[in-house]
Subunit: 329 residues, 2 copies
DNA sequence: CTGAAAGCGCTTACAG
DNA sequence: CTGAAAGCGCTTACAG
């Protein structure tokens, strides 16, 4: 290509990389030759020189979960505008896969990584910061050097609970995806913040939480169905349930009719996420919407800012959740 | 690393690549050193030498469509077992993005590509075959050299239509995602095969198709809603509709109640895909299920076979679709 | 069975 | 403003 353009490879490299001092004449010749040959620089060679890959890695548990596919979508559309590409990595919940993803940083396969879920302890992940930029989305990280974009779980769940109470509900059950409930100071942890939002609203109305109404490991539609079956056999039944996800809510409402439970009269069901089909379900889901598009966009912008070296203190962005009233509550 | 192991880099390379003649002693030393240093070979350097990237590109329109995210999921789990990685590329329906994806073949970024949708004319895509393996999934390609895995659209739609007829329906409307109906010899084209399956069933029962009941460009939930509105104002109304996708079906059933249309009595609605939430909708969808998991698995296996040089004639695999009877039809 | 050397396609001091 | 040369981390003839 340099030959066709009649310049040195050095000059070609310079025009490709927008190096300042190149004469217009040579620049034009290079562009002409590039066009003529359909030349595209080989990524691998650039990576090997340690130059940027113009790629950012997006690590998610799995893309069949609509929350994550929509998040990826928002991220990809944003980085695309900034002339970056995206490498999607699924962990399937395995620690090792997250580590492999972080290794891409070490090998210059990606310039930065967005973690949309955390599998490994933070102490381990931290060690990869020296190889490239890391940002976290939808998880809390209490580390000054890491940019983070999250939904405001505390206020989202508080408002959701207030909403149920305003509808006259007083016996509210609670689901979490984890295998136990975690309690920390506010602002430190995703699940803890959710639960604190829930109990804060309860306390404001002198209500208390019955531990028998706590359901752990609740992820899927099937989990939701199992939960409703348990509920239906309790002597003391709750009159509302906060499900932690639209999947679990879907499972619950799907079985209500056959168990002779009226929704929302007997049981109000509150989802989280506002997935695309939530409003078309047999009972359109009242749910707490997460600002997925904004989350994806902001985390992508912040990360690329950091890659480009805008070295201000790491940003911590908190976005509002929003109650979407429909029929299930 | 070679230094630590006390061998030449040549030997290290040979160990890593399973080259046959290396003494056990040196091999062990290399493994020991690899482990000690946490060494991982740098992809970029291997790619530059033209060695394989152990990566296959998966090109889809967009991952927020569950059909494609589930397909990717199946592909990824399969290539993972075969020690390959996956690079997901979304075209968003743009020809240029598909070409960029194919360029990865040229630059050795991927060893092969699975096209799950076709944006460009086949003549253009064909030109990339010399750079690496290409396989097609869920689209018809009439080219001996290209492996292809598809669902049997003809029989799927034929059975779906038969099902509607068996329920007493005779006035059946038809939707397509394209902007026009294409007719070709059977086995040549995805949409044509669907339509042929439909009309073949019709003819077997001496029924005919009223062209006023053809709806084009039907993709989304909103499209489905628009279609139902049109239908409701027709003098001659159909008593069933084949929607071409669960999204369109969802749009139709979502509006039925407010337009005073009884499903399935007044209008039977038949979806295609069997998306995860199809059975939880206000009217659980009767739908034609595509064998997504098998499709993904088979196309991945065939492609990797070809990459490894099992140069038999390109396989054409056709998988059965399946009617899932529920309440919408 | 093993190693020294060339080369893949780039970028970056260095020198002019 | 421009170019010759070194080097990034690998693999692959070539020679032994």
């Amino acid at each position: 290509m340099a030959q066709l353009a009649g310049v040195s490879v050095t000059t070609v490299s310079r025009v490709i990389n927008d190096y300042p001092h190149v004469s217009k004449a040579k620049k034009d010749k290079v562009f002409w030759a590039m066009d003529k040959l359909g030349y595209v620089p080989m990524q691998a060679a650039r990576q090997m020189r340690g130059s940027g890959s113009q790629t950012i890695g997006v690590v998610v548990p799995e893309i069949i979960n609509p929350f994550f596919s929509y998040l990826i979508n928002a991220i990809e559309r944003t980085v695309d505008k900034l002339h970056y590409k995206t490498l999607i990595i699924q962990t399937f919940g395995r620690k090792q896969n997250e580590l492999t993803a972080l290794d891409y940083l070490k090998r210059h396969q990606v310039d930065g990584i967005i973690l949309c879920a955390l599998e490994n302890d933070w102490d381990i992940i931290k060690g990869y910061q020296k190889y490239g930029q890391i940002a976290v989305c939808n998880e809390y990280v209490d580390e000054d050097t890491i940019p983070m974009v999250i939904g405001d779980q505390f206020n989202g769940l508080r408002q959701g609970t207030e909403y149920l109470i305003s509808k006259g509900k007083t016996k509210i059950a609670y689901c979490t995806g984890r295998d136990s409930l975690l309690l920390q100071q506010r602002g430190k942890n995703f699940d803890s913040d959710r639960y604190l939002g829930f109990t804060t609203a309860l306390q404001a109305h002198d209500l208390s939480f019955n531990p028998a109404w706590l359901f752990t490991n609740a992820h899927s539609i099937e989990d939701g169905q199992a939960i409703l079956k348990q509920l239906s056999q309790m002597a003391q039944k709750p009159d509302a349930i906060i499900t932690g996800s639209d999947e679990v809510a879907t499972g619950i409402v799907s079985l209500a009719k056959s168990l002779n439970i009226q929704i929302p009269q007997d049981l109000s069901v509150l989802g989280v996420d506002d997935q695309p089909l939530a409003k078309f379900l047999s009972y359109p889901l009242t749910t707490i919407r997460q600002p997925i598009t904004q989350m994806g966009q902001q985390v992508a912008e912040v990360l690329i800012d950091n890659i480009k070296g805008t070295t201000e203190p790491a940003q911590k962005i908190k976005l509002d959740l929003q109650i979407v009233p429909r029929e299930s509550a």
